[in-house]
Subunit: 180 residues, 3 copies
């Protein structure tokens, strides 16, 4: 496919969405993707509150109407009553991808024992992969470094555009025989 | 908060609940907590059979009526037909915490390959964290050592009392900026 | 029990079931089990398409009618729209065994970063353990080596036959006190 890849970046945060503090998670994701991707892409960014219905409708909008092949969220994955990003992700996904959450928690656990409090998951809706990242901007790069090598091939499999990466930032892996 | 923390300890075992053998799991949890916690706490202990309805009602009693901020179970997490503690935990939880089960299995796996048979999980109900431990008393300490460093901060986040630990037993971790 | 153990081997693949290419996953499982098991067993093999209803009915047939104590599947665990083996496994299972999938992904991750795309799980139905393996024949042995040491004891617990293994291939572990 020659389409320009559209990638959704959703910051889920009551405070950032109300302007109480600056969104740092969304820009951290965009910066990392800018360094990692060498094929053409464009960001579709949103900053929304921790409301399950809003998270679900935003995911559906970015996937079903905006045509994103990948939507990355930041925030709302902890144990607090307002943290409902994983539940919203599961609700709109046709398939769950438990390996993403497992690996991100394992990697974050090397830095802090509270990594086990993160409930982040991933799922597939149509031709789009949804990945939850933690809210803490400093944990975003380490999580993307862990799971992004598998992500272009995942997007190939579900029928999305062919993502190419800068191997100095992220060595995308495709099995022998995978075709562009 | 200055409340004395109430911690539920539920032994789920047909044999222990019928007096066929002595409950060793419950006392092992209490002993470990006694060494690990330096802030004030009191145990609310129960010994019940492997009946899903009884496990659910006991969890709800300890959380909703007894005001526990943490409930730890032992037993009923294996593959046997009577092992239903994870199902009961999921049924009463508003949120699941998959990182707890993943880490406990990974840690137990260093000791025995049958660690993968343990289906233990964790969840949040109201202002209480529920954590399933294995039934084997010798595995209880290794599981608590693995997950307890993240647990006081989890209880902070959900609005429970401020737990303090003896760092020689358990280094509780709170991110910079977390306040008492 | 002195019954000969019956072990189901289900290849889930549109192409293999339509004769478009040769089934390599099923024979790879059979070969590995032949080397690993020293007690008597017989294979009950099926090659079926990636149709959720067919996978479910085949699992039920092998368990409820054919009396298998273990059913191993290969294929259909990825993110593609046709990959529905985990969903079918969950639908017919009374209990899920998350530790199997976690360990298999962790082991496969040492070989390829795309291991996180595998959604394989395991579950219990009656006196039978169901285990999903990946479709790639080269990943089958590494996954079986990882999870099989715990499997004979799991089958003991759920009331199946006593499996014995060749320790040079697979060191089956049973806790002290487990009886034949």
């Amino acid at each position: 496919m020659n389409d320009i890849a559209r990638i959704g970046i959703i910051t889920v945060s009551d405070r950032a969405s109300h302007g109480i503090y600056e969104d740092k998670g969304g820009p951290a994701i965009r910066d990392w993707l800018q360094k990692a991707l060498t094929s053409q892409w464009q960001a579709v960014a949103r900053v929304i509150p921790d409301e399950r219905a809003v998270i679900e409708s935003t995911l559906m909008e970015l996937i079903d109407r905006e045509g994103c092949c990948l939507v990355v969220t930041t925030g709302g994955t902890g144990p607090a009553p307002r943290d409902v990003t994983p539940e919203a992700t599961e609700a709109v996904s046709e398939k769950l991808m438990p390996g993403y959450g497992e690996l991100m928690r394992a990697v974050s656990l090397r830095a802090v024992p509270t990594a086990i409090l993160s409930r982040q998951t991933a799922g597939i809706r149509g031709k789009c992969l949804i990945v939850n990242l933690p809210g803490n901007p400093s944990a975003i790069a380490e999580c993307l470094e862990a799971v992004f090598p598998a992500t272009p091939y995942c997007i190939d499999i579900i029928g999305g555009p062919y993502l190419e990466t800068n191997p100095a930032v992220c060595k995308a892996f495709r099995p022998a025989g995978a075709t562009k």
